[in-house]
């Protein structure tokens, strides 16, 4: 168990370093981590399936801007691991992963606060043109990020696996059934988060176009993406270019209307 716990800790570490020093190659996503957790625990298929479910829930969560999102790395690795270890399915993973991600988030915030100290020390080295000093200040924070997920993951697996297993076995059937329903509802959070990023009154119609294409025409995601790309080119490059040219031709006539003013001359 200890060896497996350490390997799972390393997987968490790889996940957290993805956004830090691997240029965000998407190794941090639960879809990818689920596969790795499954490999370590000897149930690749379960790992991949659980990873896919967690990906749906957290699809909308991305570290954009300065905000610190829930730690989907620790949540994803521990949620998947506990679900496989306890022999229970996806529902257990969902329900464990969400609170773990929220708890682990605070450690990520802490590291980002501590990093300010190293940044100021880098300023001091820069004042002496000490390239090596700046470089070392740059490489200490990734070690902290790694430890901030490695230690909790290893400890949780070693200390928690038995307890989590017993706890889950004592949960009544109605609750487990309800958790299954919750598991089906939760991906809507991911989609709502994506809408929050993309949706606007002007663009909203494309969401419904995709929805209807899947609902009535049974198109899959690849097909929708390809049609979407064609529509985007038609609307933005073909039609808009033409109307821009026309608008330029008739500028004198149209200006007043588009400005919403009536010019009596």
């Amino acid at each position: 168990m200890v060896a497996q716990a350490i390997m799972l800790g390393i997987i968490s570490g790889i996940g957290i370093l993805d956004s830090r020093i691997f240029g965000v190659l998407m190794l941090e996503r639960p879809l990818v981590l689920g596969l790795l957790v499954g490999l370590v625990l000897g149930d690749v298929q379960q790992g991949v399936i659980i990873g896919a479910q967690l990906e749906l829930i957290w699809m909308g969560i991305a570290g954009i801007g300065a905000a610190t999102p829930p730690d989907i790395v620790t949540g994803g690795v521990l949620g998947t691991a506990f679900a496989i270890i306890s022999g229970q399915g996806v529902e257990v993973a969902l329900v464990l992963a969400v609170p773990i991600a929220v708890l682990a988030q605070s450690l990520g915030v802490l590291v980002r606060i501590i990093n300010t100290y190293f940044m100021h020390r880098a300023d001091n080295y820069a004042a002496k043109a000490n390239f090596r000093g700046v470089t070392i200040m740059m490489w200490i924070p990734p070690i902290l990020f790694f430890l901030s997920v490695f230690i909790p993951t290893v400890l949780a697996i070693i200390l928690g696996a038995e307890q989590v297993k017993n706890m889950i076995e004592s949960v009544p059937e109605t609750i487990l059934g309800g958790l299954e329903v919750a598991g089906k509802l939760l991906p809507a959070v991911g989609f709502a988060l994506l809408l929050d990023m993309l949706f606007s009154k002007k663009m909203g119609v494309y969401f419904f176009l995709g929805f209807l294409a899947a609902s009535f025409l049974d198109l899959n995601i690849t097909a929708i993406a390809l049609f979407g790309a064609c529509i985007a080119i038609i609307v933005n490059l073909v039609i808009n270019n033409n109307s821009n040219n026309q608008a330029n031709d008739q500028k004198g006539n149209n200006n007043n209307l588009t400005e919403g003013e009536i010019d009596f001359e």
């Binding site: 990818v32 300010t116 940044m119 740059m138 949706f199 969401f207 529509i231 490059l237």
Partner: protein, 269 residues
């Protein structure tokens, strides 16, 4: 006067590899600044011999910086080209280097976020997840490949483009409204894919049945006749509406777990 200082392929390659660590020392005060300075070190070393010039250059790139990591190399390429000019031309205004960085990181982050987070990631994940839910290990692998082909291409091409064409071309592109056009196009694709995913990946159905004069009526069948996948659509917009009302994501997720158990208990879902 000595021969002009010139950046070679070697330095650009070093900048490329170092750009991956952009957020390694992310902090709340100046965000990606330390990572940016780290990436520029090979350029600074190559261009400046004097202690004072090195200090100034390091300080320049330790200023606040934040953008989408995938587009950062484009800005680094421009910075490198401007540092080169600065090293060779004593009349060059070195303040313009950071002015350009500051003016580009916002618009490029806008494009980068909608292109990579809102479009490529969503498409790749949509395809990956639909395989992975069946337990197929190619789901995650395909996800990584589909996302990283455009990602790594833009990292390399952006760096070269940034260094070669520098500031003028990017300013022109921005003035011509090409950036807005790219964002509108990626949003179009992203929204359509999200719409498709709501319909295919939210498996919500109601088990409710009624007995009307001995005839069994299955509610889900009626809903399907009106609009297939109606329940997933409603669920998404209810949650989206709550998000717009500033309900936190943590509260929403925990709330959904409770609501899910309740709805199952009363037999609605």
């Amino acid at each position: 006067m000595s021969s002009p200082k010139k950046i070679t392929k070697k330095e650009l390659r070093q900048v490329f590899w170092r750009s991956f660590a952009l957020q390694g020392a992310f902090n709340y005060e100046r965000m990606q600044n330390l990572g940016y300075a780290y990436a520029m070190i090979p350029v600074i070393k190559k261009l400046y011999d004097k202690h004072d010039d090195q200090v100034k250059a390091l300080n320049r790139h330790l200023e606040i910086f934040n953008t989408t990591p995938a587009v950062s190399t484009t800005i680094m390429g421009i910075s490198a080209a401007m540092e080169e000019q600065n090293a060779n031309d004593s009349n060059f205004d070195s303040n313009s280097i950071n002015a350009v960085k500051a003016s580009l990181m916002g618009p490029l982050a806008g494009i980068g976020d909608s292109l990579f987070w809102g479009t490529f990631r969503i498409i790749a994940a949509g395809i990956g997840v639909s395989l992975a839910t069946q337990g197929n290990i190619f789901g995650p692998i395909l996800f990584l490949i589909l996302f990283n082909i455009p990602h790594l291409f833009l990292r390399i091409a952006g760096l070269k483009l940034g260094y070669r064409v520098g500031v003028n071309s990017l300013e022109r592109i921005q003035k011509e409204g090409l950036m807005e056009k790219i964002m509108a196009m990626t949003t179009t694709v992203g929204l359509m894919v999200v719409g498709g995913m709501v319909a295919t990946m939210l498996k919500l159905t109601t088990p409710l049945e009624f007995d009307i004069n001995g005839a069994k009526v299955v509610l889900q069948d009626i809903l399907d006749q009106i609009l297939p996948n109606m329940l997933p659509l409603i669920a998404t917009f209810v949650i989206y509406g709550l998000m717009k009302r500033k309900v936190s994501i943590t509260k929403l997720t925990l709330g959904i777990i409770v609501v899910g158990i309740l709805l199952h208990w009363i037999g609605l879902l």
